[in-house]
């Protein structure tokens, strides 16, 4: 173990300078542009602006150099130490046994120079900021740092056992494209496009838009027929691009009690999920994915890390039937594929009722409005809403189910996507049974179990199961009744 103070890779200067510039640019762009506009584009103002930019760049570079020189780190004895600050000196000491994980992130600049940002996270760490971040280390020093921190944490006997990390699954290019195409983020992309087009409209002069409309107006139906699919297609492509950026090269691997996730096209991210932190696993079958037998895996983990805080993608796309096998290898505590108990037949009425109430309210409103205000019965078109709503209720009823297998609670439900949640008994923070008077009359109840997730909790819920079943389930999941079955 080395005690010497080490510096970051010199690329850290560049990264620091870029950060400073980025911070200043937002403050200067508007005044700068306004200045240019007011003075007109003559040579003098251009030179002035260029000079200003040059001064900012020079100052940023100087600051980058100074903060690089001021930043040192060391692993000494039983603690990781980070010194930063040009004027105000900060020293942060993290005891090694408190270190939860050592993650690496590779931004675009870091990738270009083949260096890594290393983040040291502690168990109690906040969700937004890493506890200590080293902006640039070359591959060898990043590895060395990780080994020193990890190595010191292992008990002497465990060192030999600590196998090299084993890759559990990689996302192939085909799967990546399918994941993007079925991601269901098309809505988000559409709204982004709407915002974009608004900006576009503002920038274009009014006369141009009017001319465009005049030219197109006679054929407006044709235009709509072409334009709408074109916009949808563009949004779809955007959604695919977003998925590729985030999930390209997604690799899930495991080393002892730690899961590693590597992902990202331009910015490579590596995240560590300690198995002990995982509270529940969700297998989600999106509307576009379920017909093809595809699903994604997510984990709820107790608060830690930047994007691992609440709910993290464990694997973005895989065949539903392979999910169990992957869980067996990645997180065996959460692997369960029991036959689910369906809800009693009498729950169907309540599901359909609950699903159609909003549609009926809309129908009543629309019919009333159209009849009394416009004197037409057009509002009755709202009737068209009712059958799909009822069908949705029926689907929710059909897909709901639950099971308790070898101390694992498995609950399947549907909102739009069909989701299966798996949580072991010892991760449940509380269980509850809720009954409304209507449920009481039908001898039905809602079962709830809470798991920790991020800073708060997340609930696993079965609506309208038999009252006795709900109470038995709540009792069986309690601390008194260990129902261990040898496997």
């Amino acid at each position: 173990m080395s005690f010497k103070e080490r510096r970051l890779h010199p690329v850290a200067m560049l990264i620091g300078a870029m950060r400073t510039i980025r911070r200043w640019v937002s403050a200067f762009v508007l005044p700068g542009v306004a200045f240019l506009m007011s003075q007109g584009f003559n040579l003098r103002t251009l030179v002035l602006v260029a000079l200003g930019a040059l001064v900012v760049a020079a100052l940023a570079a100087l600051w980058g150099f100074l903060s690089w020189r001021a930043t040192t780190y060391a692993v000494s004895g039983s603690a990781f130490r980070l010194r930063t600050g040009v004027f105000q000196k900060n020293e942060r000491t993290i005891p090694l046994e408190h270190v939860q994980s050592v993650d690496t992130v590779q931004g675009v600049i870091q990738r270009f120079f083949d260096v890594f940002e290393v983040r040291v996270e502690t168990a109690g760490g906040g969700t937004a900021e890493p506890d200590a971040s080293l902006s640039a280390l070359n591959r060898a020093s990043a590895e060395a740092l990780r080994r020193e921190i990890k190595g010191s944490r292992c008990e002497p006997s465990g060192v030999e056992e600590e196998a090299k990390s084993e890759v559990l699954r990689r996302l192939s290019t085909r799967e990546l494209l399918v994941a993007g195409a079925t991601s269901g983020q098309i809505g988000i992309a559409l709204s982004l496009l709407a915002v974009g087009s608004q900006v576009f409209d503002d920038v274009l002069s009014e006369g141009f838009v009017r001319n465009l409309f005049d030219a197109l107006a006679p054929r407006s139906t044709t235009v709509a027929l072409v334009l709408v699919p074109a916009v949808v297609l563009l949004a779809w492509l955007l959604a695919i691009a977003g998925t590729i950026l985030a999930y390209a090269g997604f690799t899930l691997s495991r080393e002892g009690d730690l899961l590693y996730i590597k992902r990202g096209l331009l910015e490579r991210r590596e995240a560590t999920i300690p198995l002990a932190r995982i509270q529940a696993v969700r297998i989600s079958e999106g509307v576009l994915r379920q017909p093809f037998g595809l699903a994604s895996l997510r984990v709820e983990s107790a608060g830690y890390g930047e994007d691992a805080g609440v709910s993290t993608t464990l694997f973005p796309l895989l065949p539903r039937r392979e999910a169990h096998a992957l869980l067996l290898r990645a997180a065996p505590e959460f692997a369960a594929a029991p036959v689910l108990a369906p809800l009693p037949r009498r729950a169907l009425r309540r599901y359909v009722f609950r699903a159609t109430v909003p549609a009926l309210v809309v129908l009543a409103g629309a019919a009333g409005l159209s009849f009394f205000v416009f004197g037409s019965a057009a509002g009755l078109l709202g009737l068209l809403l009712v059958p799909p709503a009822a069908a949705h209720g029926w689907l929710r009823y059909r897909d709901a189910g639950w099971a308790l297998e070898r101390d694992r609670l498995v609950v399947r439900s549907r909102s739009l996507a069909r989701a299966t949640a798996i949580a072991p008994r010892r991760r449940l923070q509380s269980r509850g049974v809720v009954r409304s008077p209507f449920q009481r009359r039908a001898r039905l109840a809602t079962f709830l179990a809470e798991v920790a997730s991020g800073a708060g909790g997340a609930a696993v819920q079965v609506t309208d199961l038999d009252t006795d079943a709900a109470e038995t389930l709540a009792g069986d999941l309690g601390p008194g009744s260990r129902c261990r079955v040898a496997t």
Binding site: S430, V433, R440, E450, S453, A458, G475, P479
Partner: protein, 159 residues
Amino acid sequence: MKGEPAERLDPRAKTLWRITGTLNTLPLLAGAGLGSWALVQLADRPFLIAVLPIVAVFALVVLSVGIMPGLRWRRWRYEIRSDEVDLQRGIFWVARTLVPLARIQHVDTRQGPLQRRFGLATVVFYTAAGPNQIPELSTPVAADVRDRIAELTREQDEL
């Protein structure tokens, strides 16, 4: 799941809830009075229509001051068992919650100004998924419940 939890809240809770219910509806009452006045003076509506907002708010007052506190108190039960805390509450939706003592991270008692007047306190206990509470116990009982939960939680950890 066992039968209903055994313990009830302090009976003074009902009075406290009546007072908070009144305080909560006072602004509504003022708003309704203003509305009725406006209907008569500005919109020139007949008295029977103008009085409707006040009637509606009075119905709400009767409900939240006269009826709900009693129902709520009768439903609220709790019990601290050797391994779990058992809660039951809710007037319309009756909720039963079981929290294993082994999951409880810490326990507080809290007392607002009104509660202090009545000698009542609220016990709040936290799991990793958030807080749960037992409201309106008399101050000594609340202290006792808090200490018992803390004690039992420690025992669970040692097991």
